[in-house]
C-alpha cells in the first residue's frame, strides 16, 4: 500500500498545500501530516476542540492531561446526534431503563444472621457474581462461608447462606445462575450450620 500512497500524496500536496485549509485558530502551530503520528493523543483532544466550531451544544470537558490515557472522562460529554442511533431507538432505551430501574430498585434485600441482634440490608446489583456476594457477607457478619459443592452444599463452616425466593421457598445460595438468583431473591438468611443439619443438610 505504501509505495502507491507516496506518489499520490506528493502530487496532491504540491497542488493543494498553498490553498490547504488548516484546522485551528490563526496563529496556532501548524500540524503537518508527518508530525501527525507523533502527536496522537493531543491531536484527539485539541483537534476536537478545533473541529467543533459551535460550542453551544458541546459540553465536552477538555482533558488536562495529554498523555493519551484511555480512561473515560468522568462526565462524558454529549455530542448532538451521537451516537448515531435513531431517536425512536434512543427513546425506547431510555424508557426501558426507567422501567427497569423501577423494578430493580427493589434489589435491596434484607440479610439476617442467626444470633445477630439486628438485620442488615445489601444491594444485590452491586455484585457481579456469587464469590463477590459471599465475600461481602463474610465481611459484614464476620464469618466464613464454607466451600460450595453441588452435591453437599457448603462444607467446612458454621454458617450456610440461604435465601427466600419468589415462591416463598428457602433455597441454598449458589445453585442457580447468578442472573436467576438476582431476580428471584427476596431476602437472605445466614443459617447456623447446626440448624441446617437439623433440616437434613450439610455433613
Amino acid at each position: 500500500m505504501e509505495s502507491g500512497m507516496a506518489y499520490e500524496k506528493d502530487d496532491l500536496m504540491i497542488n493543494l498545500k498553498a490553498t490547504e485549509l488548516r484546522l485551528g485558530l490563526p496563529g496556532t502551530e501548524e500540524e503537518t501530516n508527518e508530525d501527525h503520528h507523533q502527536d496522537q493523543s493531543s491531536l484527539s483532544s485539541s483537534a476536537l476542540k478545533n473541529r467543533k466550531r459551535h460550542s453551544p451544544e458541546i459540553t465536552r470537558e477538555e482533558k488536562s492531561d495529554h498523555d493519551g490515557e484511555e480512561t473515560a472522562p468522568p462526565a462524558k460529554a454529549q455530542i448532538v446526534g451521537w451516537p448515531p442511533i435513531r431517536s425512536y431507538r434512543k427513546n425506547s432505551l431510555q424508557q426501558m431503563k426507567k422501567s427497569e430501574a423501577a423494578e430493580i430498585s427493589g434489589m435491596f434485600v434484607k440479610v439476617s444472621m442467626d444470633g445477630a441482634p439486628y438485620l442488615r440490608k445489601i444491594d444485590l446489583r452491586v455484585y457481579k457474581n456469587y464469590p463477590e456476594l459471599l465475600k461481602a457477607l463474610e465481611n459484614m457478619f464476620k464469618f466464613t462461608v464454607g466451600e460450595y459443592s453441588e452435591r453437599e452444599g457448603y462444607k467446612g463452616s458454621d454458617y450456610v447462606p440461604t435465601y427466600e425466593d419468589k415462591d416463598g421457598d428457602w433455597m441454598l445460595v449458589g445453585d442457580v445462575p447468578w442472573d436467576m438468583f438476582m431476580s428471584s431473591c427476596k431476602r437472605l438468611r445466614i443459617m447456623r450450620e447446626s440448624e441446617a443439619r437439623g433440616l437434613g443438610w450439610g455433613v
Partner: protein, 573 residues
C-alpha cells in the same frame, strides 16, 4: 427502430424488474422510453424533492407501487430540524387526482399527516400495502382511517415511527369482512390495544404471515393469538412477562410447538428471561432474530437462546451480549449474513459493551457475513485487518466507536490502515461508515479501492480538504455522501461541482464550508438545490456575508428547482 411490436417488447420488459435496470431501459431510445414508462409498475424515488409528484404521475400513469424517501439520513440522529420538510401529502394528492390505481406506498423519513392517511385510504379502491419507516406526524386516527377504508388491505407495516397514540380504537376499525391481512406490524405504538379486537382480526385473517405486536399485548393474549395463527412466519412479541410456573406460560409452550413456520422473531419489549425456553423449539428454525429492543435478555439466558439458533442469517442484538456472547454467535450461527450490534448504554461507561474481540470472533466463525452495523467501545487496526481477510464479501460495513475519535488503543495510531484493509479486500462494498481517529490517509484508501461504494458516512475524521477530494475523485459510483464535524472546506466543495450531478445528495454539517462557496455551487449547477439550514444564530446569520461558515448544507440534484415548502430557516441558494 424496433424489430418487434410494442407488445413483445413490453413482455420482455416484464422480466426486467429492478429500478436500475428499468431506468437503463428507458434511456435506450424514444420508443423504449415510451414502452417502459407506460408499463412501469413500481417507482422508486430516493429523494422526494428530486422530482415533482405531477411529473411522476404523468410519466408513469400505470404505476401501482410508489416508494419515497424524504429527509436526509442524518435526520435520524436529530441533525435535521423537525420542520425541514418531506411531506407526503402533495404526493397523495397528485396520485389521487390522476386516478392512478395505487396499491402500495412505502415511505421512509417522511412527514405523514392524518389528513394524508385519510386521503390515501379513500382514494384508491385497490390499495393493499402501506409501509412507513421512521416517519412522523400522524396519530392512531390516521391508522383508523386506513383500517376502516382500505377494504383489501394486505399489509400495514409500521417500523420505528413516532406515532401519537390517541388511545382510539383503530384496531376495531378493520371491517368485519376485511379478511385479506397478510402482514401487520404495530410494534412501535406506545398505547393500549383492544386485545379482543386484535384476536378477532387475527381469527378472520387466514393469510396472516407477519404479526408484530406492541408492548401492550401481554403473554396470555399472545398465546390466544398464536392459537388462531399457527401459520405465522414472522412474530414480534409484546410484553413477555409471567411466572414460569403459570398456566399462561405452559399453554404458550405447547402452542408454540404448533407454530412450526416461524422464521423471524422479534420484540420481547418487556421480558422475564427464564421464560425464554418456551421459544427454544422455534429458535432452531429461525433465520432472523431481533432482540435489539430487549435489554432484559442478557448474559446466561441470552447465550442459551442463541445456542439454539443454528440457522440464523440475520441477528440484531444489544451490546450487552458482550464479546463472549459474540463468540457463541460465531460458533453457533454459521449461516450468519447480517449482524447489527446496538448500544444498550449510549452515554454510559459501557461495562457490557463489545470490543474488537467480538468482531474478530464473528469474522472467524461467520464467513458469509456481508452486512454489519457494529457499535463498540474500541477498535484496533489489527482487528480490522483480520476481519477484512476473513470476510472479503462485505457489502455494508458500518462501524461506530462510541467515542468517535478514539485511536487504536493498542498502538495509539489512527484507524486508517484498518479501514484501508476493509476497502481493499471487500471489492463489493457499497456502503461504509467510519469512526475512530482517522486522517486523510483513510480517504486516500477509500478513493483508491472502494470502486463500488455508493454511500459513505463520515464523522469527526480527516485533516484537510484532501480527504474529501480523494473520495470525490476516486469513488465513481458514489451516490450519497454525508459528512459531519470534519475539516473539509471550500476547496473540497468546489473542485469538481459537476460530480454532484452524478450523486443523489451531499450533506455537510459543522465543517469548514463558507456561504460564498455554497453560493458558487448553486450558481454553477442549476440542476442542484443547495440548501443552507441555519436554525440557531438566525439573527447573526447574514445572507450577504460570504465568509461565514455554514452550519448545515444539504445539496441534491433535482429536476424541479427550489422547493416551495421550505421553512424559514432553510435557504435554497
Amino acid at each position: 427502430m424496433n424489430y418487434f411490436p410494442d407488445e413483445v417488447i413490453e413482455h420482455v420488459f416484464d422480466y426486467v424488474t429492478t429500478h436500475k435496470d428499468r431506468n437503463a431501459l428507458s434511456l435506450v431510445c424514444k420508443s423504449w422510453y415510451r414502452i417502459e414508462r407506460l408499463s412501469r409498475l413500481r417507482v422508486f424515488i430516493g429523494n422526494c424533492y428530486a422530482i415533482s409528484p405531477e411529473r411522476t404521475v404523468e410519466r408513469f400513469p400505470g404505476l401501482r407501487s410508489l416508494t419515497l424517501k424524504g429527509k436526509p439520513h442524518f435526520a435520524d440522529f436529530n441533525l435535521v430540524p423537525h420542520e425541514w420538510g418531506g411531506f407526503v401529502f402533495p404526493w397523495i394528492e397528485a396520485l389521487a387526482r390522476s386516478r392512478v390505481a395505487l396499491e402500495e406506498l412505502r415511505l421512509k423519513r417522511m412527514v405523514v399527516s392524518d389528513e394524508s392517511l385519510e386521503l390515501l385510504s379513500r382514494s384508491f379502491a385497490n390499495f393493499k400495502s402501506l409501509v412507513l419507516v421512521s416517519c412522523e406526524g400522524f396519530t392512531t386516527d390516521g391508522l383508523a382511517a386506513i383500517a376502516a377504508n382500505c377494504r383489501h388491505l394486505r399489509e400495514l407495516d409500521l417500523q420505528e415511527n413516532e406515532i401519537e397514540d390517541n388511545r382510539g380504537q383503530w384496531l376495531s376499525c378493520f371491517a368485519d369482512n376485511c379478511t385479506s391481512l397478510v402482514s401487520l406490524n404495530f410494534a412501535c405504538l406506545k398505547g393500549e390495544i383492544n386485545l379482543a379486537a386484535l384476536e378477532r382480526l387475527v381469527a378472520r385473517s387466514p393469510d396472516l404471515r407477519v404479526l408484530r405486536v406492541n408492548r401492550a399485548v401481554p403473554l396470555d393474549a399472545l398465546q390466544k393469538i398464536l392459537m388462531k395463527a399457527p401459520q405465522l412466519v414472522d412474530l414480534g412479541t409484546g410484553s413477555y412477562v409471567t411466572d414460569s410456573r403459570s398456566d399462561a406460560y405452559n399453554k404458550l409452550k405447547s402452542t408454540l410447538l404448533k407454530c412450526q413456520s416461524i422464521r423471524s422473531l422479534s420484540g420481547f419489549l418487556e421480558v422475564v428471561p427464564w421464560c425464554l425456553p418456551a421459544f427454544y423449539p422455534v429458535c432452531s428454525n429461525l433465520t432472523s432474530l431481533n432482540l435489539s429492543y430487549a435489554p432484559g435478555i442478557y448474559g446466561f439466558e441470552l447465550i442459551k437462546l442463541i445456542r439454539h439458533c443454528v440457522k440464523l442469517q440475520r441477528l440484531w442484538i444489544l451490546d450487552c451480549i458482550g464479546d463472549k456472547g459474540l463468540s457463541v454467535v460465531a460458533s453457533t450461527c454459521k449461516e450468519l449474513q447480517e449482524l447489527r450490534v446496538f448500544p444498550s448504554d449510549p452515554y454510559g461507561l459501557g461495562h457490557a459493551a463489545v470490543t474488537e474481540e467480538g468482531l474478530v470472533a464473528i469474522s472467524v466463525g461467520c464467513p458469509k457475513l456481508h452486512s454489519l452495523l457494529y457499535f463498540c467501545q474500541q477498535m484496533t487496526n489489527a482487528a480490522l485487518i483480520t476481519v477484512a481477510k476473513n470476510c472479503p464479501n462485505f457489502i455494508r460495513f458500518r462501524l461506530c466507536i462510541l467515542d468517535p475519535t478514539k485511536p487504536d488503543p493498542v498502538t495509539s495510531q489512527p484507524l486508517d490502515e484498518g479501514f484501508g484493509a476493509i476497502v481493499q479486500a471487500c471489492k463489493s462494498l457499497r456502503r461504509l461508515s467510519l469512526t475512530g481517529l482517522l486522517t486523510d490517509q483513510v480517504f486516500l484508501y477509500i478513493g483508491m479501492y472502494a470502486e463500488q461504494l455508493e454511500m459513505l458516512s463520515v464523522a469527526f475524521a480527516g485533516d484537510s480538504d484532501k480527504g474529501m477530494l480523494y473520495v470525490l475523485r476516486g469513488c465513481k459510483k458514489l451516490r450519497k455522501l454525508e459528512i459531519r464535524d470534519c475539516p473539509f472546506g471550500d476547496v473540497a466543495l468546489l473542485t469538481d461541482v459537476g460530480k454532484y450531478e452524478t450523486m443523489r445528495s451531499l450533506w455537510m454539517s459543522s465543517c469548514e464550508v463558507t456561504l460564498g462557496a455554497c453560493k458558487t455551487v448553486a450558481r454553477k449547477m442549476p440542476s442542484l438545490n443547495v440548501e443552507i439550514i441555519n436554525e440557531h444564530d438566525q439573527t447573526e446569520f447574514c445572507l450577504d456575508d460570504d465568509e461565514q461558515k455554514v452550519e448545515k448544507m444539504y445539496l441534491y440534484r433535482t429536476t424541479v428547482g427550489p422547493r416551495t415548502d421550505a421553512p424559514e430557516f432553510v435557504w435554497t441558494l
